[in-house]
């Protein structure tokens, strides 16, 4: 705990939590919900996410760098907060588990049709536990290395230079979505950004100066990776193809042929194990923070163990890919709401506290 995360690591954490298995279906989701030239819609949505980050930044300013828990506990009785913490913890570990389970189910579909998906999931959960007990500073270090493993795979996009055609974008803007435009459709696309709200909880653990630089940089990086992949997919596949394919990026990568290797999606999709593990660990870490607050006297590694055990239980629930997708979508909708509401509520509290009397910041970092 002696050292604080600097901006770089915060950026990598943000990228790794935002980037998860949903990216493989992203071009389809975009084509279905937003229609042609969906990347423009994605940029708009990314701007909304930026606004949300701005809200968190504002809270950071007004709250004078206090952790969200401190702010909440100053105004709300602990009796009310404790169940809220537990609920949030369960919810966050659920998101992490569903993300990982979906990844495992796809992996099962791609490579191991006869292997029990839960077995693969246990491996991931064990890794998550191993990382979770090392604390956020070391998680940050691991995320940095995972980042270097995962994100450069996006550079394969340039492989498609020859087959990529601008005319496949069509001159139409956001037309041809399967259900027309509605809040639900845009929300579904927006969920691919979910995860950035971890910045709220990183406040006490990061260097205050570089925290939000890192957060904004991380989010921009994720957005640019998304946009790059979408532009490649939109120019490589036809619009109808995109709508028809379940995981367009898998198809995209399977097209790559290197002199020594073919069917690179096997490798690249496996590399994404890191980013899904990252999502599980980082959501798990948010859950852990909430649980620590609810049970401050818990034994060392006990809460982590409970969380991972819960994750195993929750992760075993979605049995087939379709169910898993629906469940994941539902929790991501909820999480989107939380991402907006939580900082908003906290901001109100912080403003109220700042006005009422000069706040007495707790010294030291919270556990």
């Amino acid at each position: 705990m002696s050292e604080k995360l600097n901006g770089y690591h915060v950026a990598f954490i943000i990228v790794m939590i935002e980037l998860d298995v949903t990216v493989f279906s992203l071009p389809r989701i975009l084509a279905e919900n937003l229609g042609t030239n969906g990347w423009i819609g994605l940029l708009l949505l990314s701007a909304i996410a930026f606004a949300n980050l701005g809200l968190i930044h504002l809270f950071h300013r007004v709250g004078r760098g206090r952790s969200p828990f401190e702010v909440a506990e100053q105004s709300i009785p602990r009796l009310l907060l404790k169940p809220a913490y537990i609920l949030l913890a369960v919810f966050w570990i659920t998101i992490g588990s569903f993300v990982c389970k979906k990844y495992v189910l796809i992996y099962q579909m791609v490579a191991f049709p006869t292997t029990n998906a839960n077995l693969l999931y246990v491996l991931l959960a064990a890794l998550a536990f191993y990382l979770l007990i090392k604390g956020i500073y070391n998680i940050g270090k691991a995320m940095t290395i995972f980042f270097y493993f995962t994100v450069p795979a996006a550079l394969f996009a340039f492989y498609f230079k020859g087959q990529w055609e601008l005319y496949r974008f069509t001159p139409f803007l956001l037309k041809g979505g399967t259900e027309g435009h509605s809040l639900k459709n845009w929300l579904e696309v927006y969920t691919i950004f979910v995860g950035y709200e971890i910045s709220l909880f990183l406040i006490p653990f990061a260097e205050p100066k570089s925290l939000f630089k890192g957060v904004y940089f991380g989010h921009s990086l994720t957005t640019s990776v998304y946009v790059l992949l979408i532009i490649v997919s939109y120019g490589f596949f036809s619009f109808e193809q995109l709508q028809a394919m379940m995981y367009p990026l898998l198809n995209l990568f399977s097209y790559i042929e290197l002199p020594f290797l073919n069917r690179l999606e096997n490798l690249i999709f496996t590399l994404f194990l890191f980013s899904n593990l990252a999502s599980l660990v980082l959501f798990g870490w948010m859950a852990l923070m909430a649980l620590r607050r609810a049970f401050p006297k818990a034994r060392k590694n006990m809460l982590e163990l409970i969380l991972i055990a819960a994750s195993l239980g929750i992760g075993s629930y979605p049995k087939i890919l379709r169910d898993s997708e629906i469940m994941l979508r539902v929790v991501l909708y909820l999480e989107t709401a939380i991402a907006f509401l939580l900082p908003a509520v906290l901001l109100v509290l912080a403003v109220y506290q700042a006005r009422g009397k000069t706040p007495k910041p707790e010294s030291g970092t919270p556990v």
Partner: protein, 554 residues
């Protein structure tokens, strides 16, 4: 001592035993008697059995005393100054009693002036003994002898333990009247400077450290002529009392690390230390990690560069290796050679080693994974060859790979244990077995041989033997994982290694520096070897108070 204990079986045996050890010194309470005279910090505190001396405590006094000393032999003198738990008075009789049944203990007296010298015959330099003791003291009067003993080379010994350790470290203890003096007569024992066999370079200095710490420190002083180079001597090992010297450059090294190293060395309570590689395992942050955590090298030029980079270096008497701390994972992939070549070549070599690392860790495992689960990843032109060569092999790829990897490891280990001449035979036999016969017998496929051989070769590209051995070991779990879960298992294994590496700290600093925490300036001297004009700063990991190392403008 045992007699006394059994004889006085009093009500509380503990105090009896305690008393028994001071028995022959008379009734005086030990601590009270010696407290005023003791100059050592730990003296009065340790009132335990006389032999069970906390080496660390004694060392602290010695260490501070020798800081800044310039002659390499000063370590010995100071090591001799260590004493704790004095229970018996320092007399000739007591000293001889400590060394009873010691055939190599000699003493020499000078009847004209009543001076007597006691020393271990084989530890000291006979010529020096003659010049500094025999010649001046022969036939001189009492008064003259007293004057002679006032010379600086004679250091007062205050306690019996002090005198005992002085003798053990190669000094003579000189008695004159009721006073005792230590005289350092250490003889250089062991081979002299030779080329290191484990870390050779093509261009660059060829001398290497040897087992003799005196030679090693001299070598260091010869290269680093700075009064800021500090040497602190400690004694480590409850029984062996091995001399360990902590060196650093004042003003460049971070005192926090110096303090941590010294503190950890002092806290070692292990009976014997024989080697630097053994010592580091007693002081590292993560004893259960499979990666070595401190760079250990036999090359003086490498050690000098570590010192000037702000690291702390530890020498162990009896070991040709010196330890540099704190270290990072990527430091194990650098060699002094990189700096002696043009920077382009140095850079290429560094990248080559990283590629070597990737091949070592992953190549065989990837082969197993692909040939077991992901045949579609092999281009169809290559697939024909591969299936043809695989078709004769009756085992699954996992067994095939384990078989070959084990064979290679056997050959390597056999080669390492055998004398060079027989080792060559092993190489030839092994080459035939692995190369041709195994394939013809239908044990393995050709492609696997290439994978196994290239990963074995790649592992030897890593300059640090200890690191290379660790990396070769972690291949096996990865091969297993790849054999069971294909690419998924391989990635799980890699994720585990990454998580493990991220958790390792080195004297509290990050092992993964400069990747995490990220420092792009350090990359210039880690993954590549930038031109010297670009290497302007010391590594961020060492947190040097003097960050800039290069003040030249292009």
């Amino acid at each position: 001592m045992s007699d006394a204990t059994s004889g006085n079986s009093g009500p509380n045996t503990d105090s009896e035993q305690f008393g028994s050890s001071t028995d022959n010194n008379g009734p005086a309470p030990d601590s009270g008697q010696h407290a005023p005279t003791s100059e050592d910090g730990g003296t009065t505190a340790a009132t335990g059995q006389p032999q069970n001396i906390d080496a660390a405590q004694t060392a602290s006094a010695a260490g501070t005393g020798s800081a800044g000393g310039s002659a390499p032999s000063d370590g010995n003198g100071n090591a001799g100054a260590q004493a704790a738990a004095p229970l018996k008075p320092l007399t000739m009789e007591n000293l001889l009693r400590e060394f009873n049944n010691t055939m190599d203990l000699k003493y020499r007296d000078f009847p004209a002036n009543g001076v007597t010298a006691v020393y271990l015959q084989y530890m000291i330099d006979a010529d020096q003994l003659y010049r500094t003791l025999v010649l001046p003291f022969s036939g001189v009067t009492d008064e003259m002898a007293g004057k002679l003993l006032e010379q600086a080379i004679f250091e007062r010994a205050n306690t019996l333990e002090d005198a005992v350790y002085a003798i053990l470290y190669g000094s003579a203890v000189v008695f004159s009247g009721d006073r005792a003096y230590k005289l350092d007569l250490t003889r250089s024992i062991g081979r002299s400077i030779e080329q290191t066999e484990t870390e050779t370079v093509i261009a660059g200095p060829h001398d290497g450290f040897v087992e003799n710490i005196v030679e090693n420190l001299a070598l260091l002083r010869k290269r680093l002529r700075s009064s800021h180079l500090k040497t602190v001597s400690l004694a480590v090992g409850e029984v062996t009392k091995t001399q360990v010297v902590v060196t650093y450059i004042e003003g460049i090294a971070n005192q926090e690390f110096v303090g941590k190293v010294t503190e950890r060395l002092k806290s070692i309570e292990f009976d014997a230390i024989y080697e630097a590689n053994m010592l580091v395992q007693l002081i590292d942050d993560n004893p259960n990690s499979f990666f070595p955590q401190f760079v250990v090298t036999e090359r003086p030029d490498a050690i000098c560069s570590k010192l000037t980079a702000g690291r702390v270096v530890i020498f162990v008497d009896g070991s040709p290796s010196a330890v540099s701390a704190p270290s990072s994972f990527f430091e194990f992939f650098t060699s002094p050679d990189d700096y002696y070549q043009r920077w382009h070549v140095g850079t290429a070599l560094r990248l080559l080693r990283i590629v070597g690392f990737i091949i070592t860790v992953g190549f065989t495992a990837f082969y197993v994974s692909v040939t077991t689960f992901h045949y579609e990843m092999i281009p169809h032109k290559m697939l024909l060859n591969l299936t043809k060569s695989r078709s004769n092999v009756p085992f699954p790829p996992l067994y095939e790979a384990l078989l070959m990897e084990t064979t290679i490891e056997l050959l390597r280990e056999a080669g390492a244990r055998l004398p060079t001449k027989i080792g060559q035979t092993i190489g030839i036999v092994g080459g035939i077995v692995i190369g041709q016969a195994a394939v013809q017998a239908g044990f393995t496929s050709n492609v696997l041989i290439i994978a196994v051989a290239s990963s074995a070769i790649a592992s030897f590209v890593i300059p640090s033997y200890v690191m290379s051995a660790s990396i070769r070991l972690i291949r096996f779990p990865l091969i297993f994982l790849a054999g069971i879960w294909g690419n998924f298992g391989l990635m799980v294994g890699i994720a585990f290694i990454v998580i493990h590496l991220s958790g390792i700290t080195n004297l509290g600093s990050s092992y993964m520096s400069p990747i995490a925490p990220m420092n792009l300036k350090d990359w210039l001297d880690t993954f590549i070897r930038g031109p010297f004009s670009s290497l302007r700063y010391r590594p961020s990991q060492v947190k040097s108070p003097n960050k800039q190392k290069n003040k030249m403008r292009k």
